[in-house]
């Protein structure tokens, strides 16, 4: 799952966010905001007008950018693009599903924990080992 390819070590990497307005504003206050020369930001504010396509594009962009080490994504937003989040399996950038103001964190939806659950359930059915 965690690919054992060469680990990219970086001296200065960014934290990116795909979340609701208050979460993004809060983390920008903590100093994580970055705007490059082409006016590309390291965050996407998700509101009622944001389309799934925009979220997908942002997720793909943040997970392929070499200067990003952590991608924070609100769990309810991750649920909209679950197929993409579940298929991602690299250690860096690390994808973290975080709670949002209106949607508390649910471990049952977390991509990592659901993989673990699947492994243990198939194992217990197949061999009765765990």
């Amino acid at each position: 799952m965690a690919g054992k390819a060469q680990i990219p070590t970086k001296n200065s990497a960014l934290i990116s966010m795909i979340a609701d307005e208050d979460t993004v504003v809060g983390f920008l206050l903590a100093g994580v905001g970055n705007v490059d020369l082409r006016r590309k930001t390291n965050y996407l504010i998700v509101d009622s007008k944001t389309t799934v396509k925009q979220i997908e594009d942002a997720f793909k962009e943040f997970t392929t950018r070499e200067d990003i080490a952590i991608v924070m994504i609100s769990q309810y937003v991750a649920n909209m693009i679950r197929f993409l989040v579940d298929s991602y399996n690299k250690p860096i950038p690390a994808i973290l599903e975080i709670p949002s103001k209106d949607h508390p964190y649910d471990p049952a939806h977390d991509s990592v924990l659901s993989r673990v659950k699947n492994l243990f359930s198939t194992e217990s059915v197949a061999s009765g080992r765990y």
Binding site: K4, V25, A30, G33, V35, P91, Y105, V112, R115
Partner: protein
């Protein structure tokens, strides 16, 4: 009767011999089993830590949102809005450093360090990292371990220097914090400052969670690999038994 007793004794001896063979086989398999068990234990530990840290993150974020809402209430909705965000070219004041770390049985893993409030212009670290580096360097020097009276004054001088360094670092961190807050005006609500601190704490937790997640995934890989090996072995064994029948 005697014949029956002799037969039963022979069978006991045979079963003891078989037990002895099994034990030697188990001893041969033990290192592999122990490795697998260690991996499983590490994996369960990191899963537990991951869930606890996420609980702590939820509480910290809730506090931050509450303080942000309070600040919005006192300053007005239009003064804390995404429309005010700085869209000019600027680099992040808080960034990360990715290193490699050897983690025992699992091997080399990436490890993420938080670099809080690094200066955007010079790329020089101002925050905790710089202060910690300095402390590490000074504590590593052998002079600090001598307990002579003559060295005491030197040590006192060094500790005062350390305090000065810490004050300078604190001052610079405060400047960076104010610079970020200035996006929402020069006079901001104290609640907004509190919200900033809460989200800084949340950021520390997020880095910890990311490291736990990396550890969890690599130990999960090992556990999965181990279980696949065992299950494939079992499949082969079952197939062989089927062919014999």
């Amino acid at each position: 009767m005697k014949e029956v007793q002799n037969r039963s004794q022979d069978s006991e001896i045979e079963s003891e011999e078989e037990d002895g063979d099994e034990e030697t086989q188990q001893e041969q398999q033990n290192p592999q089993c122990q490795d697998q068990e260690l991996c499983l234990l590490q994996f369960l530990d990191s899963t537990d830590d991951y869930l606890n840290l996420l609980d702590a993150l939820s509480a910290t974020l809730r506090q931050g949102w509450f303080e942000l809402a309070s600040a919005r209430h006192s300053m007005g909705t239009s003064r804390i809005s995404t429309a005010l965000l700085d869209m000019k070219n600027h680099s992040a004041a808080t960034s990360l450093r990715v290193d490699e770390r050897d983690d025992g049985s699992v091997g080399m893993q990436p490890f993420i360090n938080l670099r809080k409030w690094t200066s955007s212009e010079g790329g020089d670290s101002l925050g905790e990292e710089k202060y910690n580096d300095k402390l590490q360097r000074e504590s590593g020097s052998p002079q600090l371990r001598q307990r002579n009276v003559s060295d005491l004054s030197d040590n006192l001088g060094k500790s005062s220097l350390k305090k000065e360094d810490a004050l300078i670092v604190d001052d610079q961190v405060q400047k960076e914090r104010s610079r970020t807050l200035s996006t929402f005006g020069t006079l901001v609500s104290p609640k907004l400052r509190l919200a900033q601190l809460s989200f800084e704490n949340a950021l520390e937790l997020i880095v910890e969670i990311a490291n736990k997640r990396i550890a969890m995934l690599s130990s999960f890989d090992e556990v999965k690999k181990g279980s696949e090996d065992t299950s494939s072995f079992k499949q082969v064994k079952e197939e062989l038994e089927d062919t014999k029948v």
